[in-house]
Symmetry: C2
Subunit: 422 residues, 2 copies
């Protein structure tokens, strides 16, 4: 594979040759998925997801930076060491975190059961869990669920049923999510089509410090594991790591990607650039889906920081504004409180001159040279009553830019999290 | 003055010879205070506070680390350069921040007016403001208020009236505060009494990154400005900087201290140690008052981190737990969700081994060796239904410890901040 030296940012400037298609995690050739109700979450909810690749796939992952790491995460990291995997299994309703040895055993049992029913090696199974921390995983229910899911996967099914199975897998990784998050797309190469499939979950305990949620991505392109790892790590920086819902970094976050080469296509230099763009677009879409589905959220917030001295500064500022409780509550209250926006930029740790900053709510200039301008409250209100709100900062320090996504802080966030465990 | 080499921590181990007394900011000799209703905040609320020292006082201050700094803050920093001041003036209802040149002029006008009515130099006036950012200060109302306050101060009044005046000054710096925050105490030395007086405000936009609120402290002890600055900076680290309400660092935070020497007493080595302890106790009390009065709070949270490798690690962990939206909502919901506590420690940035951690809710051990123990949910509930809740972590990494204070995250926090400006 011949990689370009273009950054993902600059790639995004050119015209795409890829397109969104129907489907989810099993859209690429040679992948199958299923979701079942195993009784982990609560009765009659999908809670065990299985993704299977017909051939051993090149694999890569990124993981939470939290010091406290869930048991399946540790196992999955180990299983990724050789860059090869053939299945991903996940449960919701229980994080399998902070329960000691039984937790390690439960994660291993999930891998063993998956291997057994699919006829592959346990070391080629990647395991993920999400849900409440500190409660022992009901292993028998989960392994029974894995058995049921493997039956679904081995059935001869129609394309419609395949779509439904993917969808159920995406349902099975949800916790407080209210919306299914999946995506699929396709790139035309000179030798035919390659596809990407993806699903994610995330609603609370979301903060830009790695992983930030569960994400699963598949492709039938031929990509060696090191390239896959680099692709994923880069894309995560600009997508999942730019989302914040509540500033809490989870113990379980991970994003995994499998490339099984079933399309038979190795991308040339130009195609690889296109593929990277497509990959980043999928990651950004899922990241935005997560922000939009933030616990209790009524509004989606995009913060764009332009003209920073460095990308790092631009990211700090965009994330700090997205994460500010006071900005988030003002958004909820549809209040054009730009002072809180500037204050959040001010404590972000980024270098900039506050007296140079311009702030826009949507298209409305609300502050200039670090102070308020005489804007129309009515025009600002028109921006703020919408479900999607964009805040833009022009820093006049340099050329770097970054975008972060978040949501408002609402009464429902408090209600949801005031009574999650019990 | 002969300073001991004891740390403030170790000083706190010995028996105090000082005591709390009635009163507030004007409790020390030679200080007078007043609060008036100047029409800045809203009709019939106290909003301009004036504190006057009969003699020029040694002065020190600490200030917000936010890049965006309010206009009065910049002026006050300048006026502190020579370590001398004679008056402190503050208004609530308007932060006088981010309004450009008129903001600098307004802060200067407050200093000039104060100097004029008190017959002192404008350079000896320290100015503070708190309230909404980005709106121009109604200077005429404020200066008229300063005139009215100076009349109060020049009156011959009874001790009861003096107490009331102090109280009104403390009222006049409140914004969304629901409780007046003031304190006074007294130390018996071999040459007589020295006193401390203090008042503070803070409820939202509170986060441990310097100042974090407005605080004013007075003493009639004789203390040179450099010692006063060191005393203040040290005490702030362990008190105001260990409070978080919502993670938002304000543009206006400052803590000021004046020492006018009116007691005629210079402290000897042992007395200085006692005085430092008293000073720290006052700062901690006001810091806790602020956490307890957090916007919308129904519960007060104290987090103690013991056995950290370094004080810095202990502080990071304690603050991170106090600041976690998920811990705060669980506290509101009276949910013994120790997993969120451990997760917040995990992303604090501190070094520790999660598998060694013990967590207590009040006296109830809920997790050990990084995993849950079989605790009585009933006993935990008894701890959590109280208004004051303590979380304790034993890290088994070393000897360092730290304590942080915060509050729960409630529906009312969202209501208050969803509609503050308009």
């Amino acid at each position: 594979m011949d990689k370009t030296t273009q950054s993902t940012e600059s790639i995004c400037e050119s015209q795409p040759k890829w397109s969104w298609i129907q489907g989810g995690i099993a859209a690429p050739q040679g992948f199958r998925a299923a979701g079942v109700k195993a009784g982990v979450k609560y009765p009659n909810k999908y809670d065990v997801a299985l993704v299977y690749s017909e051939a051993p796939a090149q694999a890569a992952g990124v993981f939470t930076r939290n010091k406290v790491k869930a048991h399946p995460l540790l196992l999955t990291k180990k299983h990724l060491e050789n860059g090869v995997a053939q299945a991903m299994v996940a449960n919701s309703g229980n994080a399998n975190a902070c329960v000691g040895k039984p937790g390690d055993e439960a994660a291993w049992a999930m891998a063993v059961k998956t291997a057994e029913v699919l006829g592959i090696a346990a070391e080629d199974v990647l395991v993920a869990s999400t849900g409440v921390i500190g409660a022992e995983l009901p292993v028998e229910r989960v392994t029974k669920g894995i058995g049921a899911a493997s039956l679904e996967i081995s059935k001869k099914i129609s394309p419609e049923e395949a779509l439904q199975n993917s969808h159920q897998a995406a349902l099975a990784i949800m916790t407080t999510d209210t919306v299914v998050k999946e995506a699929a797309c396709e790139l035309l190469t000179e030798n035919g089509k390659v596809r990407l499939g993806a699903m994610a979950k995330g609603s609370g305990m979301i903060h830009p410090n790695m992983g930030t949620m569960l994400g699963f991505i598949t492709t039938d392109a031929t990509i060696p594991a090191p390239d896959l790892q680099e692709l994923l790590s880069e894309a995560v920086e600009e997508s999942f790591n730019m989302v914040t819902v509540d500033g809490d970094t989870s113990t379980n976050d991970m994003v995994l990607v499998l490339a099984n080469g079933k399309s038979g296509i190795t991308l040339n230099s130009g195609e690889w650039a296109e593929f990277r763009r497509m990959f980043l677009a999928v990651c950004k879409k899922l990241a935005q889906d997560i922000a939009r589905d933030g616990e209790g959220a009524t509004k989606f917030l995009e913060v764009q920081a332009f003209g920073a001295a460095t990308v790092e500064d631009a990211r700090k500022i965009a994330k700090s504004i997205c994460g500010s409780s006071l900005v988030k509550t003002a958004l909820y209250g549809e209040d054009a409180n730009w002072g809180r926006i500037l204050a959040a930029a001010g404590y972000s740790g980024a270098e900039f001159d506050p007296d140079q900053v311009e702030i826009y709510l949507g298209h409305v200039l609300v502050a200039k040279e670090g102070q308020g301008v005489n804007f129309s409250e009515e025009e600002a209100k028109e921006v703020l009553i919408k479900k999607d709100v964009t805040i833009k900062l022009l820093l006049q320090e340099g050329q770097a830019q970054a975008t972060a996504w978040g949501c408002d802080l609402t009464h429902d966030y408090v209600t949801i999290n005031g009574d999650y465990r019990t």
